[in-house]
Symmetry: C2
Subunit: 430 residues, 2 copies
Amino acid sequence: MKNLNISIAGLGNVGSAVVNVIEDNSSYWEKKTNLSLNIIGLSAKNINQERSFDIKKYKWVETPIDLLNINDLKPDILIELIGYEKDISYDLVKSALNNKIHVVTGNKAMLALHGQELFKIAEKNKVSLLFEAAVAGGIPIIKTLKNNIFLNKIKKISGILNGTTNYILTTMELQNKSFNDVLEDAKQKGFTSDHESKLDIGGYDAAHKLTLLSSIAYGGEIDFNLNEIEGIQNITIEDINFVKQLGFRIKLISETRVIDNKIYSSTKPKLISLDKPLANANNALNAINIVTDQLQNLYLEGEGAGGLPTASSILSDVFEIANNVDVRSIGYNTDQLTRYEKFDSSNIESKFYLRIRVIDQSGVLSKITSYLNEYNISVEKILQIPDSKENNIPILITTHKIKTSELLNSVKKIGELEFVDQNISIIPIE
Amino acid sequence: MKNLNISIAGLGNVGSAVVNVIEDNSSYWEKKTNLSLNIIGLSAKNINQERSFDIKKYKWVETPIDLLNINDLKPDILIELIGYEKDISYDLVKSALNNKIHVVTGNKAMLALHGQELFKIAEKNKVSLLFEAAVAGGIPIIKTLKNNIFLNKIKKISGILNGTTNYILTTMELQNKSFNDVLEDAKQKGFTSDHESKLDIGGYDAAHKLTLLSSIAYGGEIDFNLNEIEGIQNITIEDINFVKQLGFRIKLISETRVIDNKIYSSTKPKLISLDKPLANANNALNAINIVTDQLQNLYLEGEGAGGLPTASSILSDVFEIANNVDVRSIGYNTDQLTRYEKFDSSNIESKFYLRIRVIDQSGVLSKITSYLNEYNISVEKILQIPDSKENNIPILITTHKIKTSELLNSVKKIGELEFVDQNISIIPIE
């Protein structure tokens, strides 16, 4: 029997679920595997908060740093679930690693911004800093990339990495509500906070996660600055409904590729064809497509957040440590990592969806078509939507592939035409 | 740098792809990881067959067993891709293990039937017998279960584990062709052979794979006899088209659960709701749903066969061996495995699809309805399809949940009614 002593910092949804699962499953695990987990210390903001387990059964410490030494006992593993980008989380993790304590964390912001330093410290101290829970909740995407398909050459990773924005987009469509209305609902129901929702909606949380995936996939230094980020705050219910008529759904898609030896990591809303699984991964689901030299597509879908799914990922890291897996925390020795430059996204070629509002006058469709042609936008599909309530009418366009910079130039010119509303929706098509 | 010497037995699609990938990626791997793979010997049926690589660059041996000793050099790993259920594959793998050589294989039939013995031999000799390639082609399902979510309590695994049958069902629907026509096409195009297609179509190949998944999930002895198996040979194009009108698609679904401490492992055609990803995993794709105490659903989808995807799985096993992962080949010590009994499937509750042909006379729908009611079949949906060509007409029914044995009894009685065609389609709904 292998005994591991564990300290846990942070007892929100996920931390509490970890305690619950350890309590519920310890006798099952003793039969299933040779592993026994022993919680030697807990810490959280408030000892008096109501919890799903009996806090009195455990040693409580007021200051997280004391978790690293409980009555002269050093834990084998510290589980960090406080979740601050720096400050207390960073200090605690750094101290643990320097004390040769393995760390398991779900803290994507901290790793995306300070991972390069922290992984080096882990390596120097010959301990693991694992983070399955930091990306895509219950989907074991880190281990899939790092252990299961590490000998593949990754060509592209793309998917839905943020549950909150996916929930908002799904709810807008289902309830035919505006972005702001759905966001307010979500806040009132406690699904997301002001601070969280800024990171979620702005695309930053997904970009934090993508930063980690990109490093493992391409052996690059962890560098959040490589990300191109656009959130969902400008997505209108109007466009959600329009694109459905064209056979698409809008999703916040995070994508990472290497182009010309540079990293292209982008998080932005995109149109996904309704016949793709990604388009139907709704609500708080996360979903990821992986394309490699050997796999045309490997698709993983599962819960992107929540106590139990994330606890599953935390415990998978504990299991990896228990098995003495001789792999590096991020798949590489840190001195092996390449310092990639950022690919200039204006060079990306893509199909686009455009929604142009024009003054309702005869011949306007043929006018727009000829301007699109003049400005080198090759149209795949064009659809004029009748709208009796407005004195301008929307024209929906999907283009053939075009360089982003060219498209933006052309759209600018079209926006300057006198019969066109300057406010043109532009969303790339995956 | 870690150097591993490899022998490969069998150079079909998969074996050749393994050689190709090793040739193409070796310098990439040396940078990405500290691994160098060296092919020290090859063997296959016919040295003269045209191949995707230059056979002359390698040491060829006539008799596979000689792969275990190439000029007094013992390989670290034998890759077995001959694929016989017993005979030469079994003898070779057994000898390799007894000679303390790790084995990586894609041979599901051998493992489903003789795995219990072979895993014991591997364990005794302290070497690995790994088999990621044996289940679901390029999807890393074995490592997902054994390494990534091993601390989860698995409640249910279900999915599409055979690419050939999935391709046949998809093609029947797309081309509106009969089962036999599509099968003949597939044989003529060389997609499947007589022997292979018997295993595929009969559901045996999927059941071989399910046997392995079930063992890892529930810690049971490897026992092919626990499987309940029904193939796709009786699926008609008529039913494929009918169920689509009801919002379903027919898939060959393999499912394993523990019920009342017994194993229920079933491979049979089922109706999948079109809004589930599984229903849209078409052609040769494989796809798997995993439900656990911590995950409501983890869904994996990818190529179920083919050279490169399967090579990806073979190489993931090589990588696992290279990393000295201290986990057991099948997740457990073999003496830990439970000898499960088979759950009596007549006790399974399920919704069902029924297609009943009746003589076209007035009042027949209400007659059927009242008989269904009398025989305790609770109807969810009933649909009478007009058919001008036949003198009998099909009535489509989906039932509420009912015990399989009860349903079969009732259907038997309905088949005996004079205005009913005895030939009633019965397919469970997932």
